[in-house]
Protein backbone atom coordinates (compact mmCIF):
# COMPACT_ATOMS: atom_id res chain seq x y z
CA UNK A 1 0.00 0.00 0.00
CA UNK A 2 1.51 3.24 -1.04
CA UNK A 3 1.27 5.88 1.60
CA UNK A 4 -0.51 9.07 0.78
CA UNK A 5 1.98 11.83 1.02
CA UNK A 6 0.77 15.08 2.42
CA UNK A 7 2.47 17.84 0.53
CA UNK A 8 4.51 20.11 2.78
CA UNK A 9 3.28 23.63 2.79
CA UNK A 10 5.52 26.56 3.33
CA UNK A 11 5.05 28.22 6.70
CA UNK A 12 6.05 31.61 5.40
CA UNK A 13 3.16 34.04 5.36
CA UNK A 14 3.01 37.08 3.18
CA UNK A 15 3.67 39.95 5.55
CA UNK A 16 3.27 42.78 3.09
CA UNK A 17 -0.30 43.66 3.91
CA UNK A 18 0.28 43.43 7.63
CA UNK A 19 3.30 45.63 7.33
CA UNK A 20 1.32 48.19 5.39
CA UNK A 21 -1.40 48.36 8.01
CA UNK A 22 1.11 48.53 10.83
CA UNK A 23 2.92 51.47 9.34
CA UNK A 24 -0.29 53.24 8.47
CA UNK A 25 -1.35 53.08 12.10
CA UNK A 26 2.10 54.02 13.23
CA UNK A 27 2.08 57.15 11.08
CA UNK A 28 -1.33 58.06 12.40
CA UNK A 29 -0.30 57.76 16.03
CA UNK A 30 2.93 59.64 15.54
CA UNK A 31 1.13 62.51 13.86
CA UNK A 32 -1.65 62.74 16.41
CA UNK A 33 0.69 62.55 19.38
CA UNK A 34 1.33 66.03 20.66
CA UNK A 35 4.93 66.61 21.36
CA UNK A 36 5.52 67.43 24.97
CA UNK A 37 7.43 70.53 25.74
CA UNK A 38 9.75 70.45 28.69
CA UNK A 39 8.41 72.00 31.84
CA UNK A 40 10.52 74.77 33.27
CA UNK A 41 9.48 73.67 36.73
CA UNK A 42 10.01 70.22 38.17
CA UNK A 43 6.60 69.30 39.43
CA UNK A 44 5.55 66.09 41.06
CA UNK A 45 1.78 66.14 40.84
CA UNK A 46 -0.26 64.37 43.49
CA UNK A 47 -2.44 61.46 42.53
CA UNK A 48 -6.16 61.06 42.88
CA UNK A 49 -8.93 58.77 41.77
CA UNK A 50 -10.89 61.23 39.66
CA UNK A 51 -11.58 60.19 36.11
CA UNK A 52 -12.10 63.49 34.32
CA UNK A 53 -9.43 64.26 31.78
CA UNK A 54 -7.92 67.68 31.44
CA UNK A 55 -9.44 69.41 28.42
CA UNK A 56 -7.02 70.41 25.71
CA UNK A 57 -8.33 73.82 24.82
CA UNK A 58 -9.62 77.01 26.42
CA UNK A 59 -7.45 76.37 29.38
CA UNK A 60 -4.77 78.06 31.41
CA UNK A 61 -2.56 76.03 33.66
CA UNK A 62 -0.88 77.58 36.65
CA UNK A 63 2.09 75.51 37.68
CA UNK A 64 3.12 76.00 41.25
CA UNK A 65 6.29 74.70 42.78
CA UNK A 66 9.05 75.97 45.06
CA UNK A 67 7.03 79.09 45.73
CA UNK A 68 7.06 80.10 42.06
CA UNK A 69 4.20 80.33 39.65
CA UNK A 70 4.37 79.61 35.96
CA UNK A 71 1.55 80.08 33.58
CA UNK A 72 0.70 78.11 30.51
CA UNK A 73 -2.02 79.23 28.15
CA UNK A 74 -3.21 76.57 25.78
CA UNK A 75 -3.58 77.61 22.17
CA UNK A 76 -1.08 79.78 20.33
CA UNK A 77 -3.61 82.38 19.22
CA UNK A 78 -5.05 82.89 22.66
CA UNK A 79 -1.53 83.11 24.03
CA UNK A 80 -0.55 85.80 21.56
CA UNK A 81 -3.70 87.74 22.18
CA UNK A 82 -3.16 87.60 25.93
CA UNK A 83 0.36 88.92 25.44
CA UNK A 84 -0.98 91.74 23.29
CA UNK A 85 -3.41 92.67 26.03
CA UNK A 86 -0.66 92.59 28.62
CA UNK A 87 1.63 94.68 26.43
CA UNK A 88 -1.08 97.27 26.15
CA UNK A 89 -1.48 97.37 29.92
CA UNK A 90 2.21 97.74 30.60
CA UNK A 91 2.94 100.06 27.71
CA UNK A 92 5.42 97.76 26.03
CA UNK A 93 5.52 96.68 22.44
CA UNK A 94 6.58 93.44 20.91
CA UNK A 95 7.55 92.75 17.34
CA UNK A 96 5.49 90.32 15.26
CA UNK A 97 8.40 87.92 15.42
CA UNK A 98 8.34 88.04 19.18
CA UNK A 99 4.64 87.24 19.15
CA UNK A 100 5.41 84.32 16.92
CA UNK A 101 8.03 83.07 19.32
CA UNK A 102 5.82 83.58 22.32
CA UNK A 103 3.13 81.48 20.66
CA UNK A 104 5.24 78.36 20.93
CA UNK A 105 6.54 78.84 24.46
CA UNK A 106 4.78 76.40 26.73
CA UNK A 107 4.91 77.69 30.27
CA UNK A 108 6.39 81.02 31.13
CA UNK A 109 7.25 82.59 34.44
CA UNK A 110 8.91 85.95 34.16
CA UNK A 111 7.97 89.41 35.30
CA UNK A 112 6.59 91.58 32.57
CA UNK A 113 9.65 93.85 32.41
CA UNK A 114 11.81 90.85 31.48
CA UNK A 115 9.37 89.45 28.97
CA UNK A 116 10.98 90.95 25.87
CA UNK A 117 14.37 89.54 26.83
CA UNK A 118 12.86 86.24 27.74
CA UNK A 119 11.15 85.78 24.40
CA UNK A 120 14.38 86.45 22.54
CA UNK A 121 16.27 83.77 24.40
CA UNK A 122 16.51 80.19 23.30
CA UNK A 123 15.01 77.48 25.44
CA UNK A 124 18.33 76.56 26.99
CA UNK A 125 19.26 80.12 27.83
CA UNK A 126 15.95 80.59 29.55
CA UNK A 127 16.58 77.90 32.10
CA UNK A 128 20.25 78.70 32.44
CA UNK A 129 20.01 82.42 32.96
CA UNK A 130 17.85 82.14 36.06
CA UNK A 131 15.47 84.66 34.58
CA UNK A 132 12.51 82.41 35.28
CA UNK A 133 11.62 83.64 38.70
CA UNK A 134 7.92 83.03 38.33
CA UNK A 135 5.14 85.51 37.77
CA UNK A 136 4.87 88.03 40.59
CA UNK A 137 1.82 87.15 42.64
CA UNK A 138 0.66 90.04 44.73
CA UNK A 139 -2.99 89.47 45.25
CA UNK A 140 -3.85 93.07 44.45
CA UNK A 141 -5.61 93.93 41.26
CA UNK A 142 -2.37 95.28 39.89
CA UNK A 143 -0.55 92.04 40.49
CA UNK A 144 0.89 90.56 37.35
CA UNK A 145 -0.62 87.15 37.85
CA UNK A 146 -4.00 88.74 38.31
CA UNK A 147 -3.58 90.60 35.05
CA UNK A 148 -2.28 87.61 33.18
CA UNK A 149 -5.23 85.49 34.19
CA UNK A 150 -7.57 88.30 33.29
CA UNK A 151 -5.91 88.85 29.92
CA UNK A 152 -6.03 85.16 29.13
CA UNK A 153 -9.68 84.98 30.08
CA UNK A 154 -10.53 87.95 27.93
CA UNK A 155 -8.51 86.59 25.03
CA UNK A 156 -10.32 83.26 25.25
CA UNK A 157 -13.66 85.01 25.37
CA UNK A 158 -12.77 87.17 22.37
CA UNK A 159 -11.32 84.49 20.17
CA UNK A 160 -13.16 81.33 21.09
CA UNK A 161 -16.29 82.72 22.63
CA UNK A 162 -16.10 80.41 25.61
CA UNK A 163 -15.14 80.67 29.21
CA UNK A 164 -11.60 79.81 29.99
CA UNK A 165 -10.95 77.15 32.57
CA UNK A 166 -8.22 77.60 35.09
CA UNK A 167 -6.28 74.61 36.26
CA UNK A 168 -3.83 74.44 39.07
CA UNK A 169 -0.91 72.12 38.77
CA UNK A 170 0.78 72.12 42.10
CA UNK A 171 3.76 70.26 43.42
CA UNK A 172 2.73 67.62 45.94
CA UNK A 173 5.06 68.95 48.61
CA UNK A 174 4.21 72.58 48.15
CA UNK A 175 2.88 74.25 51.26
CA UNK A 176 -0.80 74.95 51.12
CA UNK A 177 -0.06 78.58 51.85
CA UNK A 178 1.30 79.16 48.36
CA UNK A 179 -1.69 77.49 46.79
CA UNK A 180 -3.97 79.64 48.90
CA UNK A 181 -2.36 82.84 47.73
CA UNK A 182 -2.85 81.79 44.10
CA UNK A 183 -6.44 80.79 44.72
CA UNK A 184 -6.99 84.16 46.35
CA UNK A 185 -5.82 85.87 43.18
CA UNK A 186 -8.28 83.82 41.18
CA UNK A 187 -11.12 84.48 43.57
CA UNK A 188 -10.45 88.19 43.37
CA UNK A 189 -11.71 88.05 39.81
CA UNK A 190 -14.53 85.72 40.67
CA UNK A 191 -12.99 82.59 39.30
CA UNK A 192 -14.47 80.35 41.93
CA UNK A 193 -14.24 77.08 40.13
CA UNK A 194 -11.01 75.63 38.98
CA UNK A 195 -9.56 72.23 38.61
CA UNK A 196 -6.59 70.61 40.22
CA UNK A 197 -4.43 68.56 37.94
CA UNK A 198 -3.61 65.16 39.30
CA UNK A 199 -2.25 61.90 38.03
CA UNK A 200 -4.22 58.71 38.01
CA UNK A 201 -4.41 56.39 40.96
CA UNK A 202 -6.16 53.08 41.31
CA UNK A 203 -9.42 53.22 43.22
CA UNK A 204 -8.96 51.78 46.67
CA UNK A 205 -11.24 48.88 47.35
Amino acid sequence: MPRVKVPRKSTAVDMTAMCDVAFLLLTFFILTATSRQPDPLEIKIPSSTVVMKVPDKDLAILSIGKGKVFMEIIGANVKKDALAKMAELYGTTFTPKQYQRFGVISAFGVPMNQMSNYINMSGEERTKSGIETGIPTDSTKNGELYRWVEAARRATADLNNTKMRVSIKGDADEEYKTIRSIVDVLQKQKVNTFSLITSAEAVAK
Binding site: K53, A172, T198
Partner: protein
Protein backbone atom coordinates in the same frame (compact mmCIF):
# COMPACT_ATOMS: atom_id res chain seq x y z
CA UNK B 1 13.16 34.29 2.50
CA UNK B 2 15.79 36.82 1.77
CA UNK B 3 18.57 34.68 0.50
CA UNK B 4 21.88 35.36 -1.00
CA UNK B 5 22.83 33.55 -4.11
CA UNK B 6 26.05 31.84 -3.21
CA UNK B 7 26.39 29.46 -6.15
CA UNK B 8 29.29 30.13 -8.43
CA UNK B 9 27.45 31.03 -11.57
CA UNK B 10 27.61 28.37 -14.33
CA UNK B 11 29.88 25.34 -13.91
CA UNK B 12 30.72 24.34 -17.43
CA UNK B 13 32.18 27.55 -18.76
CA UNK B 14 29.16 28.31 -20.90
CA UNK B 15 27.42 31.62 -20.87
CA UNK B 16 27.39 33.21 -17.46
CA UNK B 17 23.80 33.65 -16.73
CA UNK B 18 22.73 35.66 -13.79
CA UNK B 19 20.18 33.78 -11.79
CA UNK B 20 16.83 35.34 -11.24
CA UNK B 21 16.65 36.33 -7.63
CA UNK B 22 13.53 36.29 -5.56
CA UNK B 23 12.28 39.75 -4.74
CA UNK B 24 10.68 38.68 -1.51
CA UNK B 25 12.03 40.16 1.64
CA UNK B 26 11.37 38.87 5.11
CA UNK B 27 9.05 41.43 6.67
CA UNK B 28 8.59 39.76 10.03
CA UNK B 29 11.11 41.85 11.88
CA UNK B 30 9.81 45.03 10.32
CA UNK B 31 6.25 44.24 11.33
CA UNK B 32 7.41 43.44 14.84
CA UNK B 33 9.07 46.78 15.14
CA UNK B 34 6.11 48.63 13.68
CA UNK B 35 3.70 47.08 16.13
CA UNK B 36 6.01 47.80 19.02
CA UNK B 37 6.04 51.47 18.08
CA UNK B 38 2.30 51.50 17.56
CA UNK B 39 1.77 50.14 21.04
CA UNK B 40 4.11 52.75 22.44
CA UNK B 41 2.41 55.67 20.74
CA UNK B 42 -1.05 54.42 21.57
CA UNK B 43 -0.26 54.13 25.24
CA UNK B 44 1.55 57.42 25.53
CA UNK B 45 -1.11 59.48 23.79
CA UNK B 46 -4.08 58.44 25.87
CA UNK B 47 -2.56 57.43 29.17
CA UNK B 48 -0.26 60.33 29.79
CA UNK B 49 -3.10 62.79 29.92
CA UNK B 50 -3.39 64.14 33.42
CA UNK B 51 -6.68 64.25 35.22
CA UNK B 52 -8.56 67.24 36.50
CA UNK B 53 -10.30 67.45 39.82
CA UNK B 54 -12.87 70.20 39.89
CA UNK B 55 -13.04 72.38 42.94
CA UNK B 56 -15.59 75.08 43.52
CA UNK B 57 -15.13 77.60 46.26
CA UNK B 58 -17.69 79.93 47.72
CA UNK B 59 -17.54 83.50 46.55
CA UNK B 60 -15.39 85.56 48.87
CA UNK B 61 -16.34 89.18 48.44
CA UNK B 62 -19.99 88.87 47.81
CA UNK B 63 -22.22 89.15 50.82
CA UNK B 64 -25.14 87.06 49.75
CA UNK B 65 -28.29 86.43 51.65
CA UNK B 66 -28.76 82.83 50.87
CA UNK B 67 -26.12 81.60 53.22
CA UNK B 68 -26.91 78.21 54.53
CA UNK B 69 -26.88 77.74 58.23
CA UNK B 70 -25.59 74.33 59.03
CA UNK B 71 -26.61 72.44 62.09
CA UNK B 72 -23.74 71.72 64.39
CA UNK B 73 -24.72 68.14 64.82
CA UNK B 74 -24.40 67.61 61.10
CA UNK B 75 -20.96 69.03 60.63
CA UNK B 76 -17.66 67.37 60.74
CA UNK B 77 -14.67 69.66 60.69
CA UNK B 78 -11.51 68.31 59.18
CA UNK B 79 -8.35 70.31 59.75
CA UNK B 80 -5.21 69.49 57.85
CA UNK B 81 -2.09 69.83 59.95
CA UNK B 82 1.55 69.28 59.25
CA UNK B 83 3.41 65.98 59.02
CA UNK B 84 0.47 64.52 57.08
CA UNK B 85 -1.80 64.53 60.08
CA UNK B 86 -5.47 65.35 60.22
CA UNK B 87 -7.51 66.55 63.14
CA UNK B 88 -11.24 66.11 62.96
CA UNK B 89 -14.15 66.57 65.28
CA UNK B 90 -17.91 66.52 65.12
CA UNK B 91 -20.04 69.54 65.88
CA UNK B 92 -18.35 72.21 67.93
CA UNK B 93 -14.78 72.17 69.11
CA UNK B 94 -14.78 71.28 72.79
CA UNK B 95 -18.06 69.42 72.71
CA UNK B 96 -16.60 66.33 71.27
CA UNK B 97 -13.05 65.17 71.55
CA UNK B 98 -11.02 65.79 68.43
CA UNK B 99 -9.28 62.89 66.79
CA UNK B 100 -5.84 63.03 65.30
CA UNK B 101 -5.42 60.75 62.39
CA UNK B 102 -3.29 60.00 59.37
CA UNK B 103 -4.57 59.91 55.82
CA UNK B 104 -5.02 56.18 55.86
CA UNK B 105 -7.61 56.11 58.61
CA UNK B 106 -9.62 59.10 57.45
CA UNK B 107 -11.63 57.15 54.88
CA UNK B 108 -13.01 54.92 57.57
CA UNK B 109 -13.79 57.82 59.88
CA UNK B 110 -15.56 59.67 57.10
CA UNK B 111 -17.71 56.69 56.28
CA UNK B 112 -18.48 56.02 59.94
CA UNK B 113 -19.47 59.59 60.66
CA UNK B 114 -21.51 59.80 57.50
CA UNK B 115 -23.47 56.76 58.56
CA UNK B 116 -23.85 57.98 62.14
CA UNK B 117 -25.23 61.34 61.08
CA UNK B 118 -27.54 59.74 58.55
CA UNK B 119 -28.89 57.32 61.13
CA UNK B 120 -29.31 59.93 63.82
CA UNK B 121 -30.94 62.73 61.85
CA UNK B 122 -31.73 61.37 58.43
CA UNK B 123 -29.74 64.14 56.85
CA UNK B 124 -26.49 64.20 54.98
CA UNK B 125 -23.28 65.02 56.72
CA UNK B 126 -21.55 68.29 56.01
CA UNK B 127 -17.80 68.15 56.00
CA UNK B 128 -15.82 71.35 56.39
CA UNK B 129 -12.26 71.11 55.27
CA UNK B 130 -9.79 73.57 56.74
CA UNK B 131 -6.37 73.32 55.19
CA UNK B 132 -3.85 75.18 57.33
CA UNK B 133 -0.82 76.92 55.99
CA UNK B 134 1.48 74.18 57.20
CA UNK B 135 -0.24 71.38 55.32
CA UNK B 136 0.93 70.51 51.86
CA UNK B 137 -0.88 70.67 48.58
CA UNK B 138 -0.89 66.91 48.40
CA UNK B 139 -2.78 66.76 51.69
CA UNK B 140 -5.46 68.98 50.23
CA UNK B 141 -5.80 66.93 47.06
CA UNK B 142 -5.91 63.76 49.13
CA UNK B 143 -8.69 64.92 51.39
CA UNK B 144 -10.76 66.19 48.48
CA UNK B 145 -10.23 62.86 46.85
CA UNK B 146 -11.31 61.02 49.98
CA UNK B 147 -14.48 63.07 50.04
CA UNK B 148 -15.09 62.04 46.46
CA UNK B 149 -14.43 58.41 47.18
CA UNK B 150 -16.65 58.28 50.24
CA UNK B 151 -19.26 60.38 48.42
CA UNK B 152 -19.65 62.88 51.19
CA UNK B 153 -20.28 66.54 50.46
CA UNK B 154 -21.19 66.08 46.89
CA UNK B 155 -23.55 69.00 46.76
CA UNK B 156 -21.82 71.77 48.62
CA UNK B 157 -18.15 72.46 48.69
CA UNK B 158 -16.96 73.60 52.07
CA UNK B 159 -13.34 74.49 51.91
CA UNK B 160 -12.40 77.12 54.39
CA UNK B 161 -8.78 78.04 53.97
CA UNK B 162 -8.73 81.43 55.63
CA UNK B 163 -6.22 81.15 58.46
CA UNK B 164 -8.28 83.62 60.45
CA UNK B 165 -11.10 81.14 60.59
CA UNK B 166 -9.10 78.74 62.66
CA UNK B 167 -10.42 79.20 66.16
CA UNK B 168 -8.04 79.67 69.11
CA UNK B 169 -9.20 76.39 70.63
CA UNK B 170 -8.42 74.52 67.47
CA UNK B 171 -5.09 76.23 67.22
CA UNK B 172 -4.16 75.38 70.76
CA UNK B 173 -5.15 71.77 70.55
CA UNK B 174 -3.22 71.32 67.34
CA UNK B 175 -0.17 72.99 68.82
CA UNK B 176 -0.38 70.62 71.78
CA UNK B 177 -0.46 67.69 69.43
CA UNK B 178 2.43 69.12 67.49
CA UNK B 179 0.70 69.31 64.15
CA UNK B 180 0.54 73.07 63.74
Amino acid sequence: MAELDTSSGGGKGGKVRSKKQSTRVDLTAMVDLAFLLITFFMLTTSLSKPLAMDIAKPDKDEVNDNRLEVKQSLTMTVILGKNNKIMWYMGLMGESAPTIEGYVGITKSLLENKKKVKDASGKDIMVIVKPTDVSTYKNFVDIMDELNITKTNLTAPAVDDDPKHLTPEEREYMKQQGIL
